[in-house]
Protein backbone atom coordinates (compact mmCIF):
# COMPACT_ATOMS: atom_id res chain seq x y z
CA UNK A 1 0.00 0.00 0.00
CA UNK A 2 1.12 3.57 -0.44
CA UNK A 3 0.64 6.67 1.61
CA UNK A 4 -0.42 10.12 0.53
CA UNK A 5 1.46 13.08 1.91
CA UNK A 6 -0.55 16.24 2.50
CA UNK A 7 0.84 19.72 2.26
CA UNK A 8 0.79 22.09 4.06
CA UNK A 9 0.63 20.49 7.50
CA UNK A 10 -1.37 23.43 8.80
CA UNK A 11 -3.35 26.20 7.12
CA UNK A 12 -5.11 29.16 8.69
CA UNK A 13 -7.44 31.39 6.67
CA UNK A 14 -10.25 33.89 7.15
CA UNK A 15 -13.86 32.94 6.62
CA UNK A 16 -14.86 33.47 3.01
CA UNK A 17 -11.40 32.78 1.63
CA UNK A 18 -10.47 29.75 -0.42
CA UNK A 19 -8.36 26.92 1.01
CA UNK A 20 -6.10 24.73 -1.10
CA UNK A 21 -4.48 21.53 0.12
CA UNK A 22 -2.15 19.31 -1.83
CA UNK A 23 -1.44 15.60 -1.82
CA UNK A 24 1.47 13.71 -3.32
CA UNK A 25 1.88 9.97 -3.71
CA UNK A 26 4.51 7.64 -5.11
CA UNK A 27 3.05 4.84 -7.24
CA UNK A 28 0.18 4.35 -9.68
CA UNK A 29 -3.35 4.53 -8.35
CA UNK A 30 -6.86 3.33 -9.13
CA UNK A 31 -8.43 6.24 -7.33
CA UNK A 32 -7.66 8.91 -4.76
CA UNK A 33 -10.00 9.93 -1.97
CA UNK A 34 -10.23 12.93 0.33
CA UNK A 35 -11.60 12.73 3.86
CA UNK A 36 -12.36 15.26 6.59
CA UNK A 37 -12.01 14.69 10.32
CA UNK A 38 -13.49 17.00 12.88
CA UNK A 39 -11.87 16.97 16.30
CA UNK A 40 -12.79 13.86 18.26
CA UNK A 41 -14.73 12.27 15.42
CA UNK A 42 -14.21 9.66 12.75
CA UNK A 43 -13.28 10.48 9.18
CA UNK A 44 -15.94 11.51 6.71
CA UNK A 45 -15.58 10.79 3.01
CA UNK A 46 -15.61 13.93 0.86
CA UNK A 47 -14.85 12.92 -2.69
CA UNK A 48 -13.35 10.12 -4.78
CA UNK A 49 -11.56 10.80 -8.05
CA UNK A 50 -10.62 7.92 -10.34
CA UNK A 51 -7.30 7.69 -12.14
CA UNK A 52 -8.88 8.50 -15.51
CA UNK A 53 -10.48 11.70 -14.19
CA UNK A 54 -8.74 15.06 -14.00
CA UNK A 55 -11.21 17.15 -12.03
CA UNK A 56 -14.26 16.61 -9.89
CA UNK A 57 -16.64 18.95 -8.08
CA UNK A 58 -18.91 18.49 -5.11
CA UNK A 59 -20.61 21.60 -3.76
CA UNK A 60 -17.85 23.96 -2.60
CA UNK A 61 -15.19 21.29 -3.11
CA UNK A 62 -13.04 20.94 -6.20
CA UNK A 63 -10.51 18.14 -6.55
CA UNK A 64 -7.91 17.85 -9.28
CA UNK A 65 -5.72 14.89 -10.10
CA UNK A 66 -2.50 14.92 -12.10
CA UNK A 67 -1.32 11.33 -12.48
CA UNK A 68 1.80 12.39 -14.38
CA UNK A 69 2.93 14.39 -11.36
CA UNK A 70 1.38 11.94 -8.89
CA UNK A 71 -0.41 14.76 -7.12
CA UNK A 72 -3.87 15.93 -6.23
CA UNK A 73 -5.29 19.11 -4.79
CA UNK A 74 -8.41 19.88 -2.80
CA UNK A 75 -9.90 23.36 -3.07
CA UNK A 76 -12.55 24.53 -0.64
CA UNK A 77 -14.17 27.73 -1.86
CA UNK A 78 -15.82 30.38 0.32
CA UNK A 79 -14.68 28.67 3.51
CA UNK A 80 -16.75 28.66 6.67
CA UNK A 81 -15.84 28.20 10.33
CA UNK A 82 -17.47 24.76 10.12
CA UNK A 83 -14.81 23.72 7.60
CA UNK A 84 -12.24 23.76 10.42
CA UNK A 85 -10.98 20.18 10.50
CA UNK A 86 -8.14 17.89 9.43
CA UNK A 87 -8.15 16.84 5.79
CA UNK A 88 -6.58 13.61 4.58
CA UNK A 89 -5.92 12.21 1.15
CA UNK A 90 -5.87 8.47 0.57
CA UNK A 91 -4.50 7.07 -2.68
CA UNK A 92 -5.80 3.59 -3.52
CA UNK A 93 -3.30 1.57 -5.53
CA UNK A 94 -3.46 -1.86 -7.09
CA UNK A 95 -3.82 -3.44 -3.66
CA UNK A 96 -6.81 -1.12 -3.20
CA UNK A 97 -5.92 -0.39 0.40
CA UNK A 98 -6.34 3.10 1.74
CA UNK A 99 -3.39 4.52 3.63
CA UNK A 100 -3.57 7.98 5.16
CA UNK A 101 -0.90 10.61 5.67
CA UNK A 102 -0.70 13.01 8.59
CA UNK A 103 -3.21 15.39 7.06
CA UNK A 104 -3.62 19.13 6.73
CA UNK A 105 -5.07 20.91 9.74
CA UNK A 106 -7.31 23.69 8.40
CA UNK A 107 -8.42 26.49 10.69
CA UNK A 108 -11.03 28.93 9.39
CA UNK A 109 -11.15 32.09 11.45
CA UNK A 110 -14.47 33.94 11.80
Amino acid sequence: SQQGEEDPQALSIQEGENATMNCSYKTSINNLQWYRQNSGRGLVHLILIRSNEREKHSGRLRVTLDTSKKSSSLLITASRAADTASYFCAPAGSARQLTFGSGTQLTVLP
Binding site: Q33, G40, A92, Q97, L98, F100
Partner: protein, 114 residues
Protein backbone atom coordinates in the same frame (compact mmCIF):
# COMPACT_ATOMS: atom_id res chain seq x y z
CA UNK B 1 -28.98 4.35 6.83
CA UNK B 2 -27.39 3.62 10.20
CA UNK B 3 -23.69 4.37 10.41
CA UNK B 4 -20.78 2.33 11.72
CA UNK B 5 -21.26 1.75 15.45
CA UNK B 6 -18.35 1.47 17.85
CA UNK B 7 -18.15 0.94 21.56
CA UNK B 8 -17.03 1.94 24.05
CA UNK B 9 -16.46 5.58 23.20
CA UNK B 10 -13.73 5.98 25.79
CA UNK B 11 -11.61 3.53 27.76
CA UNK B 12 -8.95 4.10 30.39
CA UNK B 13 -6.82 1.18 31.53
CA UNK B 14 -3.49 0.57 33.18
CA UNK B 15 -0.57 -0.90 31.29
CA UNK B 16 -0.51 -4.69 31.10
CA UNK B 17 -4.31 -4.86 31.34
CA UNK B 18 -6.41 -6.12 28.47
CA UNK B 19 -9.08 -4.25 26.53
CA UNK B 20 -11.55 -5.02 23.75
CA UNK B 21 -13.29 -2.81 21.23
CA UNK B 22 -16.42 -3.65 19.31
CA UNK B 23 -17.55 -2.56 15.85
CA UNK B 24 -20.82 -3.07 14.00
CA UNK B 25 -20.41 -2.06 10.34
CA UNK B 26 -23.10 -0.77 8.04
CA UNK B 27 -25.46 -3.57 7.08
CA UNK B 28 -24.34 -5.33 3.91
CA UNK B 29 -20.81 -3.97 3.92
CA UNK B 30 -18.41 -6.77 3.05
CA UNK B 31 -15.14 -5.07 3.95
CA UNK B 32 -14.24 -4.00 7.48
CA UNK B 33 -11.12 -2.16 8.65
CA UNK B 34 -9.53 -1.33 11.98
CA UNK B 35 -7.30 1.74 12.08
CA UNK B 36 -5.16 3.12 14.90
CA UNK B 37 -4.81 6.90 15.07
CA UNK B 38 -2.21 8.34 17.40
CA UNK B 39 -2.66 11.99 18.35
CA UNK B 40 -1.46 14.29 15.59
CA UNK B 41 -1.09 11.50 13.03
CA UNK B 42 -3.23 10.00 10.32
CA UNK B 43 -5.02 6.68 10.74
CA UNK B 44 -2.80 3.61 10.37
CA UNK B 45 -4.37 0.41 9.05
CA UNK B 46 -4.15 -2.47 11.52
CA UNK B 47 -6.28 -5.13 9.86
CA UNK B 48 -8.67 -5.51 6.94
CA UNK B 49 -11.40 -8.14 6.62
CA UNK B 50 -13.28 -9.18 3.51
CA UNK B 51 -16.44 -10.85 4.83
CA UNK B 52 -14.99 -12.95 7.67
CA UNK B 53 -11.57 -13.55 6.15
CA UNK B 54 -8.43 -11.50 6.83
CA UNK B 55 -7.13 -9.66 3.76
CA UNK B 56 -4.26 -7.78 5.38
CA UNK B 57 -2.93 -7.80 8.93
CA UNK B 58 0.66 -6.94 8.12
CA UNK B 59 0.73 -3.96 10.50
CA UNK B 60 -1.07 -5.65 13.37
CA UNK B 61 1.28 -6.27 16.35
CA UNK B 62 0.24 -9.89 16.63
CA UNK B 63 2.05 -10.49 19.91
CA UNK B 64 -0.52 -8.32 21.67
CA UNK B 65 -3.29 -7.44 19.23
CA UNK B 66 -5.94 -9.79 17.90
CA UNK B 67 -9.08 -9.25 15.88
CA UNK B 68 -11.95 -11.30 14.61
CA UNK B 69 -15.01 -10.72 12.53
CA UNK B 70 -17.95 -12.84 13.60
CA UNK B 71 -20.00 -14.36 10.76
CA UNK B 72 -18.76 -11.60 8.47
CA UNK B 73 -20.61 -8.89 10.40
CA UNK B 74 -19.50 -7.54 13.81
CA UNK B 75 -15.86 -7.34 14.73
CA UNK B 76 -13.82 -7.12 17.91
CA UNK B 77 -10.28 -5.86 18.36
CA UNK B 78 -8.41 -6.91 21.49
CA UNK B 79 -5.18 -5.74 23.06
CA UNK B 80 -3.53 -7.95 25.65
CA UNK B 81 -1.41 -6.79 27.41
CA UNK B 82 -1.66 -3.07 26.70
CA UNK B 83 1.37 -0.80 26.57
CA UNK B 84 1.61 2.94 27.08
CA UNK B 85 2.22 3.44 23.35
CA UNK B 86 -1.15 1.86 22.55
CA UNK B 87 -2.84 5.07 23.69
CA UNK B 88 -4.70 6.17 20.57
CA UNK B 89 -8.08 6.34 18.91
CA UNK B 90 -9.16 3.05 17.35
CA UNK B 91 -11.32 3.60 14.32
CA UNK B 92 -13.49 1.04 12.60
CA UNK B 93 -14.53 1.55 8.98
CA UNK B 94 -16.51 -0.43 6.44
CA UNK B 95 -17.15 -0.38 2.72
CA UNK B 96 -19.56 -2.09 0.35
CA UNK B 97 -17.53 -4.45 -1.68
CA UNK B 98 -13.96 -4.60 -2.77
CA UNK B 99 -11.32 -2.62 -0.98
CA UNK B 100 -10.29 0.77 -2.29
CA UNK B 101 -13.76 2.24 -2.45
CA UNK B 102 -15.42 4.79 -0.19
CA UNK B 103 -14.99 4.10 3.51
CA UNK B 104 -17.57 4.83 6.20
CA UNK B 105 -15.99 5.44 9.60
CA UNK B 106 -17.31 5.08 13.11
CA UNK B 107 -16.61 7.72 15.77
CA UNK B 108 -13.83 5.63 17.27
CA UNK B 109 -12.80 4.43 20.70
CA UNK B 110 -10.34 6.66 22.53
CA UNK B 111 -7.99 4.48 24.58
CA UNK B 112 -5.76 5.86 27.30
CA UNK B 113 -3.19 3.51 28.80
CA UNK B 114 -1.79 4.76 32.11
Amino acid sequence: EAGVAQSPRYKIIEKRQSVAFWCNPISGHATLYWYQQILGQGPKLLIQFQNNGVVDDSQLPKDRFSAERLKGVDSTLKIQPAKLEDSAVYLCASSWGQAGEKLFFGSGTQLSVL
